[in-house]
């Protein structure tokens, strides 16, 4: 038995990928998620409109982060700000009580805002003042249903799981079946092969998405208020990035085990850092940048906005554009990496030694 123990340790010492996973990963995860997991929001973007805007805005302190004061704006324009993800709270002043319009898709922000308002009223009363009358109106998700906010995000998460995992095995399987080299010798270009590996899954994943949304509507009553075409565009770009990431993983993996390891390491941060559960705005700045490179973060923004708020495409050009950019980068890298795999060489001599990695 002792012989077995010694042997296992010796083998482990040389298996760097597993060692990294066992030692580095838990430390990394704890640090990152420790800083990311946060249910309270410290800064809520707020706009104030109406004749009393200036006065009211001076009384608003953190967590309300006043980003716009416009006495001339109307309530409907304020709502548009909410719809277009420019603010989470819109304060409408004018005749009658002050109205706090809140974006019901930002659950934690709304809770934080309500709590803050409650505290403000209490401290005013304690100081002997009478706080002004106000009302709170929660738009888009009046009952603050968690499922309404979660389903659009879960749709994306499921696609990340399936999409990345499935395509990550694609090139590896060819490598292991010995067909990869044959493809290289056939009249195919690297792009033909990669497109061939993505397009069928694009179709299947799109179908999956429709099923998930339908189930969400049927079981949880999640509305679909916005433009289907905009949603489709967002989904298409998102899938391109996700599937492309899968293909990229398979071009850097020598066998299925490695591919799955890598796929999981890429999926894990997306669960906790993409705004699915913890709002991105409440993440510590040091880890918030990770959210900005995850495709899922952008898809969640797009799907929540379109499904719950009917946000138009003009307000979503940023996440859509960034997804498109990520897509170009990921697919571009996959093609480059794949071309190296196939390594077509010129027919003439290459005078200088070209050091390549050990081919599979």
């Amino acid at each position: 038995m002792w012989a077995m123990i010694v042997k296992e340790f010796r083998e482990l010492r040389r298996d760097r990928r597993t060692l990294a996973m066992m030692i580095v990963l838990p430390v990394l995860m704890l640090v990152i998620f420790g800083y990311a997991a946060n249910f309270t929001v410290s800064k809520i973007p707020t706009v104030v409109v109406g004749p009393l805007a200036q006065v009211v805005s001076e009384h608003l302190h953190l967590p309300f982060d006043v980003v716009g004061v416009d006495p001339d704006e109307t309530r409907s324009r304020a709502e548009t700000q909410l719809r277009d993800n420019k603010a989470v709270v819109a304060v409408v002043t004018g005749e009658g009580p002050i109205t706090f319009l809140m974006d019901g898709t930002q659950l934690f922000s709304v809770q934080t805002a309500e709590t803050a308002l409650g505290r403000m009223v209490q401290s005013a009363r304690a100081a002997g003042e009478t706080p002004p009358a106000f009302s709170i109106q929660i738009l888009y998700n009046p009952k603050l249903n968690t499922s309404w906010v979660l389903v659009p995000g879960l749709a994306g998460l499921i696609l990340v799981f399936i999409g990345t995992l499935i395509t990550s095995l694609g090139v590896v399987r060819e490598r292991q079946a010995g067909t990869l080299e044959q493809l290289a010798v056939m009249p195919f270009r690297p792009w033909d092969v990669i497109a061939g590996k993505i397009i069928p899954y694009l179709a299947v994943a799109s179908f999956d998405l429709v099923v998930i949304i339908a189930l969400g509507a049927g079981l949880f009553g999640v509305p679909f208020a916005g433009n289907v075409a905009v949603f489709a565009l967002g989904a298409f770009l998102f899938l391109l990035v996700t599937l492309g990431l899968g293909v990229l993983i398979s071009t850097v993996s020598q066998n299925q085990g490695q591919a799955i390891q890598l796929a999981f390491m890429i999926m894990l941060p997306q669960i906790l850092l993409s705004g699915l559960i913890f709002p991105i705005s409440s993440m510590h700045v040091g880890v918030r940048w990770i959210a900005y490179i995850l495709p899922l973060s952008y898809f969640i923004e797009i799907s929540r906005s379109v499904m719950l708020k009917a946000t138009p495409i003009t307000a979503l050009w940023q996440p859509l554009g960034l997804l498109a950019l990520l897509g170009v980068i990921v697919l571009g890298l996959a093609v480059v990496r794949f071309r190296r795999d196939l390594a077509p060489s010129s027919q003439t001599a290459i005078p200088l030694a070209e050091i390549t990695d050990e081919a599979a």
Binding site: A3, V6, K7, D15
Partner: protein, 286 residues
């Protein structure tokens, strides 16, 4: 002394598939037995039944005169096709592991000592095989069981490995080897030929070839001769520019005459490979 290992009408079934069908085999001390057959003929399964790693559905597999057990397996040195070495460890570490497992302390043998500090995965296959063999032999087994010991190695490495095997047999061990390589098969004292689970022939190489013969065709326009004979349905082998046809001389001569090809046609004894093909084609009508 009885046989070191013996199969007595061993049949092994996996569900609906009969991998081994009533096979007989015996290995004695000091001899090299070759189990010859295609992949899937049942050689490895028969081997595993002798080691007790697979249970026969019928018949008896005996190891040192009794049912195979953990105790009797300690007297066997086994090298599977995949070598059974740890690629991430050095030759020395692999050796230490094996010695510890068999509770012995042996110095690393001279044949592989030069590579002691190298990782197994960095060695050429021929050397890896020698390491695996040395490890199997480290505890002085009375029986050596080797599955495809020289597949994929260079001719010189194969010869060296066979020298090791022969030395082990000379020292008193019995050796059971499986192979589908006809060249190797000639090295064995006794051959057992398997086709689709059944033993179809046994004896030394000469006995297995028997009186089978082929015709050798030598002519200037060998290419046309090849095409003509091929078109006539014969399985022609080209050895350089000499063609070998497993068919009666008169037939071949007639075919060549009809095509107006002048050639010298001689009868020659079949080699082991041609004999094997004839046996296999005869055994399974297709």
């Amino acid at each position: 002394m009885g046989h070191l290992a013996q199969a007595h009408s061993v049949t092994v079934r996996f569900g609906a598939v009969t991998a081994v069908d009533s096979a007989d085999l015996a290995v004695d001390a000091g001899e090299v037995i070759g189990l010859l057959g295609a992949n899937g003929a049942g050689k490895t399964t028969l081997l595993l039944s002798l080691l007790g790693l697979v249970r026969p559905s019928a018949g008896a597999a005996l190891l040192f005169g009794g049912a195979p057990s953990t105790v009797s397996r300690r007297r066997v040195g086994y090298v599977p096709q995949t070598l059974g070495l740890y690629n991430d460890m050095t030759v020395e570490e692999n050796w230490t592991f094996t010695c510890r497992a068999f509770k012995q302390r042996r110095p690393i043998p001279a044949t592989i000592a030069d590579a002691a500090g190298e990782l197994v995965r960095d060695l050429p296959l021929g050397l890896q095989r020698r390491v695996a063999f040395a490890a199997a032999f480290s505890h002085d087994p009375e029986l050596l069981v080797l599955d495809e010991p020289t597949s994929g190695v260079s001719p010189l490495s194969a010869a060296r490995l066979w020298a090791d095997i022969r030395a082990a047999a000379n020292a008193g061990s019995g050796v059971l080897v499986t192979t589908h390589n006809m060249e190797e098969a000639e090295q064995c004292d006794h051959l057992v030929v398997m086709v689709e689970g059944k033993v179809v022939a046994h004896g030394d190489a000469e006995a297995v070839i028997g009186r089978r013969a082929v015709v050798e065709v030598r002519c200037a326009d060998w290419r046309r001769a090849y095409q003509v004979l091929d078109a006539a349905g014969y399985v022609v082998q080209a050895k350089g520019t000499t063609l070998r046809v497993p068919a009666p001389r008169l037939e071949v001569e007639r075919v060549l005459d009809d095509a107006i090809i002048e050639a010298r046609v001689d009868v020659a004894p079949a080699n082991l490979e041609e004999a094997f093909v004839a046996i296999v084609s005869g055994a399974s009508p297709s």
